[in-house]
């Protein structure tokens, strides 16, 4: 197992190199001059040229890329062009906010997704099954930004029980305040993932329930609860774990709309502003961090397989 993990971690290196090069290339191919965006249309040519020089933007593309890479390898992620701050602490701090949102959403998505999936599968074609599948269809069709606004209007404007947006109230701190701010954006974000997990759990569980060993278990006279939770579910969860892994990755990168609607100070929002401002070091750093965490999440999922399904082992 240890050897497998080390191999997977080593495989991360070419992946990240490839990603960083691609991102660098795309950013530089996009029209738009960072110096002009920073200084604005009112700047003189001399000051634009000076800033381009200070930022190293007057160097050839490959020189810029390898210079950036060399600095990153030494732990210097550069300084954000637009925000004028060190990139690494900035993205780590924003990543923390995104991590809260992602983890809480993943928790909600898994709990509700799996629960709804089990209810549907064990009562196939019942009213419960139909209702939850209609719910799944609705959840899947709702755009996340629209759902976010509706949640704000219902829970904050009409009911007044949760904050509209942001990550903390002025003059207030602490976990409880953070949790209260997490509820609405997490629901908005989790809905899409939850419905996919629900569908996956349902179809996977239905398939397993048709198999011979379930019939054997039932024939042995085991209680239905034991049959489903011990025999069926542990087998049905393997594809679900795969989907959960992919969905967590999706939540990590796909939360940008939620971050906009809820003014959540996460990395998605930071990246979007960075792209608008052609803030190369910032966007590079943020994408590298998100890509790394995506790969790590999938590594964890692969390792989880071995625990969920004893037939899988890594050597």
């Amino acid at each position: 197992m240890a050897g497998y993990i080390i191999r997977r971690l080593l495989a991360l290196i070419p992946v990240l190199l490839g990603i960083s090069f691609l991102v660098f290339l795309i950013l530089h191919l996009a029209p738009g001059d960072p110096a002009l965006i920073i200084l604005g249309p009112k700047a003189t040519q001399a000051s634009l040229a000076q800033l381009r020089h200070d930022l190293g933007l007057d160097q050839p593309f490959l020189v810029q890329y390898f210079r950036w890479l060399w600095h990153v390898l030494q732990g210097d992620w550069g300084r954000s062009i637009q925000l004028k701050r060190e990139v690494l602490p900035l993205i780590l701090q924003r990543f923390q906010a995104t991590a809260y949102l992602t983890l809480f959403s993943a928790f909600l998505a898994i709990v509700f997704g799996v629960l709804v999936g089990i209810i549907s599968a064990t009562r196939q074609y019942s009213l419960w099954d139909r209702l939850s599948m209609i719910g799944v269809l609705l959840g899947f069709s709702m755009p996340v930004f629209w759902l976010g606004i509706i949640l704000q209007i219902v829970f904050s404007l009409y009911l007044g029980i949760l904050p509209v947006s942001g990550m903390q109230s002025p003059d207030q701190q602490g976990w409880l305040d953070l949790l209260r701010h997490l509820v609405l954006p997490s629901i908005a974000l989790a809905t899409g993932a939850a419905v996919i997990i629900a569908r996956m759990t349902r179809s996977s569980l239905l398939e397993v329930l048709q198999q011979d060993f379930i019939r054997t278990a039932r024939a042995k006279g085991q209680s239905e609860r034991l049959v489903i939770y011990r025999h069926a579910l542990s087998n049905a969860l393997i594809p679900v774990v795969t989907v959960v892994g992919l969905q967590v990755g999706y939540l990590l990168g796909g939360d940008i709309l939620v971050e906009i609607v809820f003014s959540w100070p996460g990395i998605g929002l930071l990246m979007m502003n960075g792209i608008m401002a052609r803030d190369f070091p910032l966007v590079q750093g943020a994408i590298l961090l998100v890509a790394t965490s995506y790969v790590m999440v999938n590594l964890v999922v692969d390792i989880l397989y071995a625990y969920v399904d004893p037939r899988i082992s890594y050597k």
Binding site: A43, T44, V111, G148, L269
Partner: protein, 538 residues
């Protein structure tokens, strides 16, 4: 089995309810009860900004969010009066101008201290300006000073005469200089703080202004508190908190939920509803802004004044203001916004007249119509609603036989493609807007429409020029005689509208909506938010 499942669900629901019930839903503005009708002391104002400020060093600011959150921390030598761009004394109590208009001697206010306790004096003034314009200054690399050339480019040297007198010598007589001295880029920073924080001064701003910086949690909030020792009298409110709330709808929800007291950029469709709501007050002010369509005078067919005039007649500008902008702007006839001195409405006005447009096109030899490319940004600072406005213009042009193909670009790309030296790379027409900086007509007419200001020198993006107007505008910027300057600018507006270098469409109205309890707030044409004299009623 059924019971267990319900247990799981109900635990989760309970958890949600507990979380939501454990603390107050919002932090309402707290202010002591009013006694009589006068200003009340104390309280906090929470402001919802459109985006996170980029910097709090006023000398480096280029965007509204930064100036709105940070301008109150600093003072400049001069100050724009409330609701006007006339200047009044601030850190300079008085000033003398030499007869040739090149030497300005400023007599500084004594006994003023920066928020870090150090003294404001002539050294601080010299430091604040040289830091921006002298590339060899030891603290020049502590920031990027986008406005340095604009504000101080005409300065030849800055000298300290004594501790409270500074003399600034200009390269040439330049009338808008005094107005520049009231701009955010001419504010005075604490030299001690710049030396201490270096590049991070933009996150740890220290000035002499009515509010002191307290904290900045990135992406969350910026907090400033009142400076009880402010030379101009301490502010009434204790604290102002600025929160970036990017989504317009979410910002409005925050206001209605009561967790934010004051918002900007209200969607035009919702404005009427908020205005009718007695819980809120709306404050409006015609801004220093013009939205316009630029003609490329270096390309056919717009090298011909008749075609330019025809397009002016062809576009129903009033309809754009009424139905797209929903009166969040006022119809523009002159390039100059009405809020600026020397503005005149006595210019050539192009009322919507498609017949006249067709006739002019025929006279110019385009009886069979013509086709052209029309660049439109997807969004952008001051661009209001560029795409719907562009589509309306496209539809109007179609009616007179002009087939306009719209090409849209993201704002960063758009600036890059439109501010170019070679006009042949530009399309026939494109959109642009301008927000004034110092309240001087020169800042619109000379910079945007003079032949001296083709890129890369300036912002005359259509490369259009009228030699007679150029000579007049040059004369006006060198003259210190205000009434003479006014005459020239009035005449220039008449000639420029006759030349029809643009289709001016509207001047955006600045609009903020706030809780009804916020009293005495006045919008300033520069877009700054001034909270010094504001008080909260409960």
């Amino acid at each position: 089995m059924r019971i267990r499942k319900w247990n799981c669900l109900s635990v989760l629901i309970l958890l949600g309810l507990v979380i939501s019930a454990c603390a107050p839903a919002s932090t309402p503005t707290s202010a002591p009860a009013a006694q009589g009708g006068g200003p009340v002391q104390g309280g906090t104002i929470v402001v919802g900004l459109q985006a996170e400020p980029v910097t709090l060093d006023a000398q480096q600011m280029t965007d509204y969010n930064s100036t709105r959150a940070g301008r109150n921390i600093f003072d400049a030598l001069l100050h724009f009066k409330d609701e006007s761009t006339e200047v009044e004394p601030a850190l300079a109590e008085k000033w003398d101008i030499s007869p040739d208009g090149k030497e300005y001697t400023f007599h500084l206010r004594k006994g003023v201290k920066f928020h870090d306790g150090t003294d404001f004096n002539a050294d601080a003034v010299v430091f604040s300006y040289e830091r921006q314009i002298d590339p060899n200054h030891p603290y020049h690399d502590t920031g990027e000073f986008a406005y340095a050339d604009f504000t101080l480019g005409v300065v030849d040297k800055i000298e300290k005469i004594d501790d409270y007198t500074v003399r600034i010598t200009l390269k040439e007589s330049f009338a808008p200089f005094l107005a520049n001295m009231a701009m955010h880029s001419a504010t005075i920073v604490s030299p001690t703080a710049v030396k201490k924080y270096g590049k991070d001064f933009s996150r740890n701003p220290v000035g002499t202004g009515p509010f002191k910086f307290v904290s900045w949690s990135p992406g969350v909030e910026i907090v400033v508190e009142k400076n009880p020792d402010y030379w101009g009298g301490a502010p009434n409110v204790d604290k102002v908190i600025y929160r970036p709330i990017i989504d317009d709808q979410a910002r409005m929800n925050e206001l209605e939920a009561g967790s934010v007291d004051f918002i900007v950029n209200i969607p035009p469709d919702d404005l009427a509803r908020l205005k009718a709501d007695t819980r809120f007050t709306t404050v409006e002010q015609p801004g220093m802004h013009t939205w316009y369509v630029v003609f490329n005078c270096q390309k056919k067919p717009f090298d011909d004044v008749k075609v330019r005039q025809a397009v002016n007649y062809a576009i129903d500008r009033q309809a754009i203001v009424d139905s797209i902008l929903r009166n969040t702007g006022t119809l523009a006839n002159s390039p100059l916004p009405p809020v600026l001195w020397s503005y005149t409405s006595d210019v050539t006005v192009y009322d919507y007249n498609p017949e006249k447009a067709k006739q002019l096109l025929t006279e110019a030899g385009y009886a069979d119509g013509l086709s052209l490319t029309f660049w439109v940004p997807t969004s952008g600072s001051g661009m209001q609603q560029p795409v719907p406005m562009g589509q309306a213009i496209q539809a109007d042009l179609k009616k007179v036989g002009i087939d306009a193909t719209i090409e849209t670009y993201e704002w960063g790309t758009y600036l890059d493609k439109t501010i170019v030296e070679d006009a042949q790379t530009l399309p026939e027409i494109f959109q642009m807007s301008w927000v004034g900086d110092n309240g001087d007509p020169d800042n619109f007419l000379y910079i945007l429409l003079s032949g001296d200001q083709f890129p890369p020198n300036g912002f005359n993006l259509g490369h259009c020029k009228d030699d007679k107007v150029d000579a007049m505008l040059r004369e006006a910027r060198a003259s210190l005689d205000q009434s003479k300057r006014t005459d020239i600018y009035v005449q220039a507006q008449k000639m420029l509208t006759e030349d029809a270098f643009w289709v001016p469409v509207d001047h955006e109205t600045q609009i903020v909506v706030m809780k009804a309890g916020i009293k005495n707030f006045k919008l300033h044409p520069t877009g700054d938010f001034r909270f010094k004299d504001v008080w909260l009623e409960k």
